[in-house]
């Protein structure tokens, strides 16, 4: 079997191109990292330091922004007075719960849709993805009514269900792609070896695992970053981090320090998650990797 090494040939165009690439990457890096850096530093500043900015055009004065006495006061306040611990737990449960449910149900459905042939399969697939075609706000009001009459408003199960409604169709489509990439012959071999259908499915699970893992993360991100569902369906008993952060913007006083700290608290776990599973994320989402 051929290795997956890419052969490169040198040419002037190539060299010029790689210079351009590097230039682009530098700009891109500044563009993405700067806001995060400001958020991080501001979260450790008291209100006075936070607004010490250099004059416009004064690049030499940038140092002013880093000249402050770090304080953890905002964080302490968040977790003591403002109950962010609880909100964080809500966020975690809602996003992880929905991710697990979506991926579990999704992989079942995806496996069936990938392996079985039946009349109307294409229509079914289209129907599944079509549930994602309307924007969330469009269905929010009816959804709210349904949820309220079932007593799901303001509860974590309600929030999990709401996220699952939107993660599941997506999960089915993406995961079906992963299963389609695994040759059926592998399962056939397992069947001949004496496996039953479940054992045969288990045999190919390691092959789709990177994809499934990566997709769990996407689902978690959806739930974790969601504001709309959380503010309407989760309001009351199941407040999540984005909603809690938004509430820090009060008419009389915008608590910049706390907002920045809340931003960090919301961002950092997902960044760590990303780093942790980076390898799988890449192999998972570029999975033409399984072949005959």
């Amino acid at each position: 079997m051929a290795s997956r090494e890419i052969v490169r040939y040198k040419s002037p165009a190539r060299t010029a191109f790689s210079v351009l690439v590097i230039l682009f990457l530098i700009i891109f890096f500044v563009w993405t990292v700067l806001p995060l850096a400001i958020m991080l530093t501001s979260s450790f500043k008291d209100l006075l330091d936070a607004f010490k900015l250099p004059a416009e055009g004064d690049w030499g004065g940038v140092g002013v922004m880093f000249d402050f006495k770090p304080t953890g006061a905002h964080y302490v306040e968040l977790f003591t007075e403002k109950h962010f611990g609880e909100y964080m737990r809500n966020s975690l449960i809602a996003s992880l719960g929905s991710a697990v449910v979506s991926v579990f149900l999704g992989s079942m459905a995806a496996y069936a849709l990938s392996r079985a042939e039946f009349r109307g399969k294409k229509d079914l697939l289209f129907w599944i993805i079509s549930t994602r075609m309307a924007p969330v706000v469009a269905v929010m009001v009816p959804l709210y009514v349904i949820f309220r009459s079932s007593g799901l408003v303001g509860t974590l199960p309600g929030l999990i269900l709401a996220y699952t409604t939107f993660n599941l169709p997506f999960a089915i489509w993406i995961l079906k792609g992963f299963f389609d990439n695994v040759p059926y012959a592998i399962e056939e071999a397992a069947l001949c070896d004496g496996a039953n259908r479940w054992q045969a499915l288990r045999m190919i699970m390691p092959l789709v695992a990177p994809g499934v893992g990566a997709f769990i993360v996407l689902c978690v991100l959806f739930g974790w970053n969601d504001f709309l569902f959380a503010s309407i369906i989760g309001s009351g008993g199941a407040k999540t981090l984005p909603v809690a952060t938004a509430e820090l913007v009060q008419p009389v006083k915008i608590q910049w320090g706390s907002i920045m700290a809340a931003g960090v608290v919301t961002t950092v776990p997902m960044m760590f998650l990303g780093l942790l599973i980076r390898r799988y994320l890449v192999t998972g989402l570029t999975m033409g990797a399984v072949r005959e």
């Binding site: 079997m1 040759p183 069947l191 004496g194």
Partner: protein
């Protein structure tokens, strides 16, 4: 350790017909070879035996048990797939151990079986590798290994040694045949290589376009092909065919081609007469049953010109042209004719076959 009966089996893929009204009985402990050109429905048949493919109509029995609705795991079969179908995330060892693991055999026994099979297949050094790190032939041997570690009721082999080099293939032919004899396991072996069929099988079923052409021992298939297709498919180099005319009748018919007049034996003539052969027939003769003499004053029936000579080491293949036709002759000769040289060809009339020119059916 069971017989396999294929009864009136048809296989359709949508509108495509892959197998047509197939009837084969594989006897207990028999090594049966399904032989035929690409796309003739061999794999489809095998996969129906394995239970991987829905049987469009007809019945399959293992012994007295109808297996149409029995899933593969309960059929007690071991199959080698045409495309290997190895488990990509498992090592060679784990691949081969999988069927035993599913049988809950204990670890030491598993190891022993796998190592035994790996030795036989000459892949011991590869046991810790993953399939991506193997060559085609090594993968194929791993796939064979996964099947032979077990002792199933039926072995199903789908072109198991097609991707090995010639030496290894001949080695594996011997090993597989020996193994089958030793285990006394009913075996259905699919191949498009007539040599494999001839050398390994107890009986050969020749298929063409989904239809069984002939079922018989290698000797029967080779010496008494029932039609032109079987005659041309079995035997290497293939049989020569020549359009001829029958002259004379009764006990003394003869085949006429150009100025060749080939007197047939009494029995051959009578067969042609009783079977009502048309005047125009096709003569079939194997390259081994032709005699060749170099030069112009050879005194043989057919005068020809050498087209090309192909030394095979001990033997020599000579293709010679005469009129519109070309024949291949196999001889043990040292003298090398040059292309263009004149020669004479004689036909051994006892060994010839005559086919109906329209239907391809053999008269003898």
């Amino acid at each position: 350790m069971t017989s396999v009966t294929i009864k009136d089996v048809w296989k359709y893929y949508g509108k495509t017909m892959a197998v047509k009204e197939l009837n084969i009985e594989v006897r207990d402990n028999e090594f049966l070879c399904l032989l035929g050109p690409s796309g003739c429905g061999k794999s489809s048949t095998l996969r129906m035996l394995a239970g991987l493919e829905f049987i469009s109509s007809g019945e399959v029995f293992f012994g007295d048990l109808k297996v149409n609705d029995i899933p593969p795991r309960d059929r007690d079969i071991a199959m080698v797939f045409e495309n290997y179908a190895l488990y990509p995330h498992k090592t060679v060892f784990e691949n081969m151990a999988n069927p035993l693991k599913l049988q809950r055999m204990n670890k030491t026994d598993i190891k022993e079986r796998v190592v035994w099979a790996a030795q036989m297949l000459e892949i011991e050094e590869l046991l810790q590798r993953k399939p991506v790190e193997l060559s085609g032939g090594q993968k194929q041997r791993t796939a064979i290994g996964r099947a032979i570690v077990r002792e199933p009721k039926v072995f199903l082999f789908d072109e198991p040694i097609a991707h090995l080099d010639a030496k290894l293939r001949s080695h594996m032919r011997g090993e597989l045949k020996h193994l089958q004899r030793r285990l006394e396991t009913t075996t259905v072996y699919v191949t498009h290589d007539q040599l494999e069929g001839m050398t390994m099988a107890d009986r050969i079923a020749v298929m063409h376009e989904g239809v069984l052409q002939q079922l018989g021992t290698p000797g029967e298939i080779y010496n008494h092909p029932v039609n032109e297709f079987v005659a041309g498919f079995v035997g290497e180099p293939p049989m020569n065919f020549l359009d001829c005319r029958i002259e004379g009748a009764g006990d003394s018919a003869s085949l006429v081609y150009d100025n060749m007049n080939l007197a047939l034996g009494g029995e051959q003539s009578r067969i042609l007469e009783t079977k009502g052969a048309a005047r125009e027939v096709r003569l079939g003769i194997r390259p081994d049953d032709l005699t060749i003499e170099m030069g112009t004053d050879h005194g043989l029936e057919l005068s020809a010109k050498i087209f090309v000579t192909e030394p095979l080491g001990g033997d020599m293949l000579i293709e010679a042209d005469f009129g519109q036709d070309r024949m291949t002759i196999k001889r043990k000769i040292a003298e090398l004719g040059q292309p263009g040289d004149a020669c004479g060809i004689a036909v051994n009339s006892e060994k010839l076959h005559v086919f109906d020119r329209d239907t391809g059916e053999a008269f003898f």
